[in-house]
Symmetry: C2
Subunit: 241 residues, 2 copies
DNA sequence: TAGACAGAGTGAACATCATTCACAGTTCGG
DNA sequence: CCGAACTGTGAATGATGTTCACTCTGTCTA
């Protein structure tokens, strides 16, 4: 499995360098700035030589996208592992912060990964409901903490009407030891997951500047309220006065 | 203001047709499929002639984007106006449903509008915190209902720690009669707004298929829980059992 | 009303891009 | 050690945005 022959090692290096240059171009000028010609120029190669490593530009971008998901997954999970083991809520918060932080530091990458699907990269020809969808990589880590929270009996969630039927049935497959998740837990996770995505994506895509000046403070306020809800400590406030 | 001379009328028609064709191309093949050459071909014109109407391809796309925001604004607000005037919560729900529905029926447009900023269309050179940001057009309608809800004293919101400081100060400018919005109300709106964006964008961008089969049911469940929270009727459920 | 002027369209040109192909050099395995 | 697979080359094709010098034609003014 590990490259042994010279050619294989050389090839792996080339693939890695191509993806590195592609990422640099992405960061510098957005997805449309990733061009085989620019890559070949920077690497001192012919453009056609790149086709020995990737079937097309789209294939390259798809590979890069996959690698970025791995990176984001590593980052969030290592943030989780630095949080105290016995406090799932703190672990969730740590992951959420790491998620946002990485996104802010890698806006273009974030857009490529979690923006609208790019034409040839994740088109409708791909199987739509692939169970190993790249997005799952990072989402599942959150799900795991919700499962742990539920296992301890400290998870407080709103009772939702007809919860059955619309969740992917084998979702607890991802969770350690097949937790046999209550659908309500999955709903609680999804609710938090979509909300997290909303805040972060909106900020990174620049759709929040018209309403919020200090997005970090807003994010922390949302996080605090979220933690309060998880602990069942919501103290509501009635109308004006 | 209204075009009177023949040339002006003719010009307005041409501009409209160009944007129409551009939109058709967008729908058919994504943003990268919008090309001046394809437009000119379809219109039986020379490509260079298009430069009499738009300074560049990016300018065309930007104009199209603006028009799409107007359309989405009209759709959501007309959905609101069909809901009972005396029930702000129902009005918010109607707008949320219309928002999602329009997005699902116009995925490419939605991506262009609310996805990551496209290179030349909404680049960093544009003024970042423009108060008339296009996203505001649709968001403000939601804010208005929250203001109304608050005015009636029926809005129940969580108490959030240090709310001052990170909100755009002149946000109540948008609200009818300058409501002098309590920051807490703005926070409640933003919380709902980001959440709504999260659910809808995630679904439209295809980032939810790995976890949810029937996204419509999930959306309705979230909506119901949201309405319950707004009315202060959350009935929580403790851990496993 | 006649002429000046701005608007609208043309066709050629240049630079960029992805992709393919026949060809040649290099490395590996039997 | 020799054939086969791998890696790279250079030319070619056809797509793209953008510019420029031109014509032609409405429109407005003197």
């Amino acid at each position: 499995m590990v490259p042994t022959t010279w050619r294989e090692r050389r090839r792996a290096e080339a693939v890695a360098e191509i993806k590195d240059v592609a990422r640099r171009l992405l960061v510098a000028g957005g997805p449309s700035a990733i061009s085989l010609r620019a890559i070949s120029r920077e690497m001192g190669m012919t453009t056609s030589a790149l086709y020995r490593y990737f079937a097309s530009l789209d294939a390259l971008v798809a590979a890069l996208r996959g690698e970025l998901f791995e990176e984001l997954g590593r980052v969030t999970q290592s943030a989780r592992d630095e949080a105290p083991t016995d406090d799932p809520i703190l672990r969730v918060l740590a992951m959420a912060r790491a998620f946002r932080q990485w996104g802010l530091e890698h806006r273009q990458e974030f857009g490529l990964m979690l923006g609208p699907p790019v034409a040839g990269v994740a088109g409708p020809d791909q199987e739509p409901s692939a169970p190993d969808d790249a997005v799952a990589c990072v989402g599942v880590a959150f799900l795991g903490e919700f499962a742990e929270l539920w296992r301890r009996g400290t998870l407080v969630i709103p009772a939702v009407d007809p919860i059955e039927g619309y969740l992917v049935p084998s979702l607890d497959m991802y969770v350690a030891e097949r937790a046999d998740l209550e659908p309500l837990v999955v709903f609680a996770f999804l609710s938090a997951w979509t909300k997290l995505y909303g805040i972060i994506a909106m900020e990174i895509f620049g759709h929040m500047t018209w309403a919020v000046t200090d997005t970090e403070e807003f994010f922390e306020a949302e996080l605090a309220e979220f933690a309060r809800q998880l602990a069942g400590e919501t103290n509501n406030v009635p109308g004006p006065g």
